[in-house]
């Protein structure tokens, strides 16, 4: 009975708004729709359950939904080898931490938690550095993305980002490294590094972005570097205009 009410309401709902239908047409539609809605659907086979629950078992928890590791490809990569070594190190550390916790007082537990957090973020940083040396530019882009998600970075990470910006063979990887570095312009070494990078860059997109960034930062130290770039006769015209604008504003 309840089922019939739902279908009745569904049919009524459909036909309510329909103008321009004769009573007979409406009746036809009602009849066939009723038949359709009451037509049974089969139960899925057991094999569907099997397949679903097996993938549930293998599922690896995601990290911010941003960086997903597929197990089969991951196992073959260098990152995995580094991770297993570091994971072993962490496992030992955790065991040691638990052991220490039993003997120590509650106050130092907080300090040890901070240490554990540092150790885990150290894992992430090692992973980034490993990924930055992979052949696949895609993986290097992933590494740079990971850095942009980090809450705090140490000088090692900054160094790796600057190194990527200056040395990576792929223009796109260098471009995302630049974008990530703009998140950290308040660190003095980042600013310095960006300024030093100006005369090295050859990709017009990167040169253009640097001009924008330096102007926004009001970074006067960039002017002599940009002037070096202007000496390059192959410099793109739009980039040249932009650099001139930056220099004018900063002087």
């Amino acid at each position: 009975m309840k089922k019939k009410n739902i279908t009745e309401r569904k049919i009524r709902d459909l036909l309510n708004d329909q103008k321009g239908l004769s009573a007979e047409q409406k009746r036809d539609i009602e009849e066939i729709y009723d038949m359709l809605l009451n037509d049974d659907i089969p139960e899925p086979p057991d094999s569907l359950d099997d397949r679903f629950y097996s993938i549930m078992k293998d599922k690896i928890p995601e990290d911010n939904g941003n960086y997903r590791i597929r197990l089969s490809g991951f196992l073959k990569s260098d990152s995995f080898r580094v991770m297993t070594r570091i994971a072993a190190g962490i496992a030992l550390f955790i065991i040691g931490w638990f052991g220490a916790r039993i003997t120590d007082s509650a106050q130092s537990g907080e300090k040890q938690l901070a240490e554990l957090t540092r150790e885990v973020s150290g894992l992430r940083q090692s992973l980034v550095i490993t990924m930055l040396s992979q052949d696949s530019p895609s993986e290097r882009i992933q590494a740079v993305n990971m850095v942009s998600e980090m809450n705090e970075v140490d000088s090692k990470i900054i160094e790796s980002m600057l190194s990527t910006l200056n040395n990576d063979s792929n223009d796109n990887v260098r471009l995302v490294a630049l974008e990530t570095l703009t998140l950290y312009v308040d660190y003095p070494e980042v600013r310095e590094g960006l300024v030093k990078s100006i005369s090295i860059q050859k990709s017009p997109l990167i040169q253009y972005r640097l001009a924008e960034i330096m102007q926004a930062l009001q970074e006067g130290r960039s002017v002599p570097e940009f002037q070096k770039v202007l000496n390059d006769i192959t410099l793109d015209y739009s980039v040249r205009e932009r650099i001139n604008e930056t220099i004018e504003v900063l002087l």
Binding site: I6, K10, D13, L14, L15, D17, Q18, L21, Q25, D28, I29, E31, I32, Y33, M35, L36, L37, D39, I41, P42, E43, P44, P45, S47, L48, D49, R51, F52, Y53, I55, M56, K59, P61, E62, G65, R68
Partner: protein
């Protein structure tokens, strides 16, 4: 917000709740191809599991899930010409004469499915989607990227075509039965 917290266990509960309508959706869409339906259903839940973090909670989970199913169906369509099939419901047997009433019910179900299979993909798909209890018309509209009234009009038009086909098949079936009946009578004499 059933799944936003990314809790895997809860996802199992959602699977149990939606596996039948999802499977049923593909079963009708593929004209009763149980293997294809299973594969497609599995892919829906696999994708949903993989991208569950991207379900932002705007709209219901059912809409999100069936949006994935809808798109997988279209992909399947591209790979397999799936417009028409004359496959008859295997449960129907012309020769069965025991329990005429049961036969009639089975027969009408068979004719309905035959008619459904004769519809073009987009018509069949929207009717099957309308069949899903868990989906409101507004949600079907969102999946199909059109307005609610447009969806209802589409459904009505598809139902009209379905009705026409049904009548056609019913007539053919009756004529066939009449033919066999008179033939039997003739041979009995």
């Amino acid at each position: 917000m059933e799944v936003v917290d990314g809790n895997i266990d809860r996802f199992g509960i959602l699977y149990e709740r939606y596996k039948t309508p999802v499977y049923g959706y593909f079963y009708k869409l593929t004209s009763g191809n149980s293997q294809a339906s299973e594969d497609l259903s599995h892919n829906v839940f696999f994708k949903a599991l993989k991208y569950k973090h991207s379900f932002k909670g705007t709209g219901t989970f059912a809409r999100w899930l069936f949006s994935i199913a809808h798109n997988l169906g279209i992909d399947y369509l591209r790979k397999n010409t799936l417009y028409h099939t004359d496959k008859i419901d295997p449960e129907l047997k012309d020769e069965e004469i025991n329990g005429t009433e049961r036969l009639e019910l089975k027969e009408s179900k068979a004719i309905l499915n035959l008619s459904l299979n004769k519809l073009k993909y987009s018509d069949r798909e929207i009717l099957i989607m309308a069949k899903i209890r868990e989906l409101k018309y507004s949600e079907i509209a969102e999946i199909n990227k059109c307005s609610e009234s447009a969806v209802k009009t589409r459904i009505c038009r598809a139902l009209k075509k379905l009705k026409d086909l049904y009548v056609e098949f019913e007539k053919t079936s009756y004529e066939k039965k009449e033919y066999y009946r008179t033939k039997d009578q003739g041979s009995a004499k």
